[in-house]
């Protein structure tokens, strides 16, 4: 070990992994906001739910890679239920009510998670195949982190293909620009809202399952992720997918460096960075001027 090169390779790869997880969660949040104008404060809890679902699936003997496919579907199921029962009735009301009700939902989900899985931290058992390390430029990097990076890339590529190449993607993109027109063309906007919410939940579920082995799973993991993804989408610009990519990488790097050098107060540095960026660019890096 040792050597500045191996340390910087470590930091660079860790930043990419962390930034990637932020990106997936923040993109889910961004899609729901862009299409339904709903800022879902329970999103972090859905992410935690994904992690716990992954944990339970792996603990019952399922392969980790199968769990990554099933856990997001479970989270999406919960999401569908929530959208129909709680989020949809808020559509005609002021934004403040949506924020407050999803905030309540966050505490409800966190409470239920504590009730079901308890307070003690959990760990996802990795399959033997990806448990070792691999030498890269003088450092021994864990294989599963590289696998995680690959899954993140695959998920984001899949999302981009869905949005740019399919008819569903076309409708979603159109609905994010002029929802009235989409509605006029005979497309039920209700399905668009449901689709956006479920898609966001799938992304939260994926992020939760891949974050499981990276950190410990505990009931508070959702809170930290919620705040981090806020920071990402506020810096990137609300509703901007490209902005979120840049911001996620930026925050990934800054947080990894801060955790390496100042440990305890790492998040404070991230918030400071956010404050400075917003002081000069109130709409974020690539804000589209769609602030409510």
């Amino acid at each position: 070990m040792g050597g500045a090169l191996s340390t910087s390779v470590d930091i660079a790869l860790n930043s990419l992994v962390l930034g990637g997880v932020f990106l997936i969660v923040a993109t889910g949040l961004n899609i729901i906001y862009g299409l339904s104008r709903v800022m879902n404060l329970a999103h972090g809890s859905l992410y935690a739910l994904g992690a716990y679902a992954g944990y339970t699936l792996v603990a019952t003997g399922l392969n980790y890679f199968v769990a990554i496919l099933i856990a997001p579907i479970a989270v999406a199921g919960v999401g569908l239920l929530l959208e129909r029962s709680i989020i949809a009735p808020m559509r005609k009301r002021s934004m403040i009510y949506t924020l407050i009700i999803t905030y309540g939902l966050m505490f409800l989900l966190d409470g239920l998670i504590k009730q079901i899985w308890g307070n003690e931290p959990r760990f996802i058992e990795l399959p033997a195949l990806i448990r070792g390390t691999v030498p890269i430029l003088g450092t021994h990097y864990p294989i599963f982190r590289l696998v995680t990076l690959f899954i993140i890339a695959a998920a984001m590529t899949g999302l981009m293909l869905l949005l740019s190449k399919t008819k569903i993607g076309l409708i979603l993109r159109a609905a994010s620009t002029i929802p009235e027109m989409v509605s006029c063309l005979g497309i039920n906007m209700n399905y668009v809202h449901i689709g956006a919410f479920v898609l966001g939940c799938v992304l939260a579920g994926i992020a939760g399952t891949i974050a499981g082995p990276l950190t410990t799973i505990d009931p508070l993991m959702g809170h930290e992720m919620l705040i981090s993804s806020f920071v990402v989408i506020v810096i990137g610009g609300l509703g901007s997918l490209r902005g979120a990519v840049i911001a996620a990488l930026l925050i990934g790097v800054v947080q990894t460096l801060a955790e390496f050098f100042v440990t305890d107060l790492a998040m404070v540095i991230v918030y400071m960075l956010m404050a400075v960026i917003l002081a000069f660019m109130p709409r974020g890096l690539l804000g589209e001027g769609r602030f409510e």
Binding site: P89, I101, L108, G111, K114, F230, L238, L265
Partner: protein, 331 residues
């Protein structure tokens, strides 16, 4: 404050009956510790008053300016920590100086935070209150040397409360502290009501109703939002000073997101945009919390469910419920 004299000043004329009712309530609250001498109930009502003041300060923001702050308790916490630190490390007897320092520091911290927040717009404002609130929570939680970290700030002295050289009593005495809290809360309520019903308050309400139109008639929206935010944080700072004098202790949980949601719920329970509604909401909330938390550890689930039900079925709170029945009776 403003030269927009065309904006109708709307001081809702108080009838003599209303004044009588308010005076009666204040008198009842003032006599309360002499009738019921059980210290437990005195503390409970004292806590209701302090959180009532905090909820009222959030109402200035939420109900009048239309801005949402998820972690208003952060500013209560900052002020409480400063008051505690001044009393412990600088002067254990100067109560007023410590309180002024606390309120001043909470407002001072709120200034740059608010400056960034008002520039970003309504939704991002709300998200940023959460992010900055979490930041303050992390700082007091991890800065062990100054704040005592998880253990909280301990070893608070009990200074005596003096007014113009006249000693009223010791802040460690529950009855004295209760009366002190009551008088400060009443003063703050009257002042806030006055400010809200001034042209300044009308400008805030105009911003809440239609930000663009307010900007078109020449109101500097960002500046007034910042004033509203500072007023709310200053009042939260007053609540913080009262909080630590009453408890003699403050820990990071008081500044957590969970506690912040509680404050939001007090405002919702009482009804936003009424000032006195949140005071009622805080009383109900503290009572229920005290009652339920002795029975169950799953308080979080209850809080979530009640918030959801409130927003779904009773968005105007108890105050709104009263108006609803009044309308019903009139037919």
């Amino acid at each position: 404050m403003t030269d927009h004299t065309t904006i109708p000043d709307a001081p809702k004329g108080i009838s003599a009956l209303k004044i009588a009712v308010i005076l009666l309530i204040i008198a009842a609250l003032a006599l309360f510790p002499f009738v019921i001498t059980n210290r437990f109930y005195i503390s409970l009502v004292n806590e209701m008053l302090i959180y009532g003041l905090l909820a009222m300060s959030l109402d200035v923001l939420l109900g009048y300016t239309g801005l949402l702050s998820f972690m208003h308790n952060a500013y209560l916490g900052i002020s409480a920590y400063v008051v505690g630190l001044v009393l412990i490390h600088i002067s254990p007897t100067s109560l007023w100086m410590a309180c002024l320092a606390g309120v001043f520091f909470a407002t001072l911290v709120a200034l740059p935070v608010g400056w960034v927040q008002v520039r970003t717009g309504g939704l991002a404002f709300a998200l940023l209150t959460l992010a900055f609130g979490m930041m303050f929570h992390t700082i007091v939680w991890k800065w062990y040397g100054l704040t005592g970290g998880d253990d909280g700030l301990m070893g608070m002295p009990n200074p005596s409360i003096t007014l113009f050289g006249w000693e009223i009593g010791n802040s460690g005495d529950p009855t004295v502290m209760y009366l002190f809290t009551l008088s400060i809360v009443v003063i703050c309520f009257i002042l806030t009501r006055r400010i809200i019903h001034s042209p300044f308050g009308a400008v805030l309400e105009a911003i809440r109703e239609n930000e663009e139109r307010a900007a078109f008639v020449g109101i500097n929206v960002r500046r007034f939002k910042l004033f509203g935010w500072l007023l709310a944080c200053m009042l939260a700072g007053v609540a913080g000073a009262l909080f630590i004098l009453y408890k003699g202790y403050i820990g990071p949980t008081t500044m957590s997101a969970f506690a912040g949601a509680g404050v939001l719920m007090m405002v919702l329970l009482g009804g936003m945009g009424t000032l006195w509604g949140p005071l009622v909401g805080a009383a109900i909330f503290i009572y229920i919390q005290d009652y339920i938390s002795t029975m169950t550890e799953h308080w979080e689930i209850y809080l979530g469910v009640v918030v959801i039900l409130l927003v779904l079925f009773m968005p105007t709170g108890f105050v709104g419920l009263g108006a609803y029945f009044k309308r019903l009776r009139k037919g």
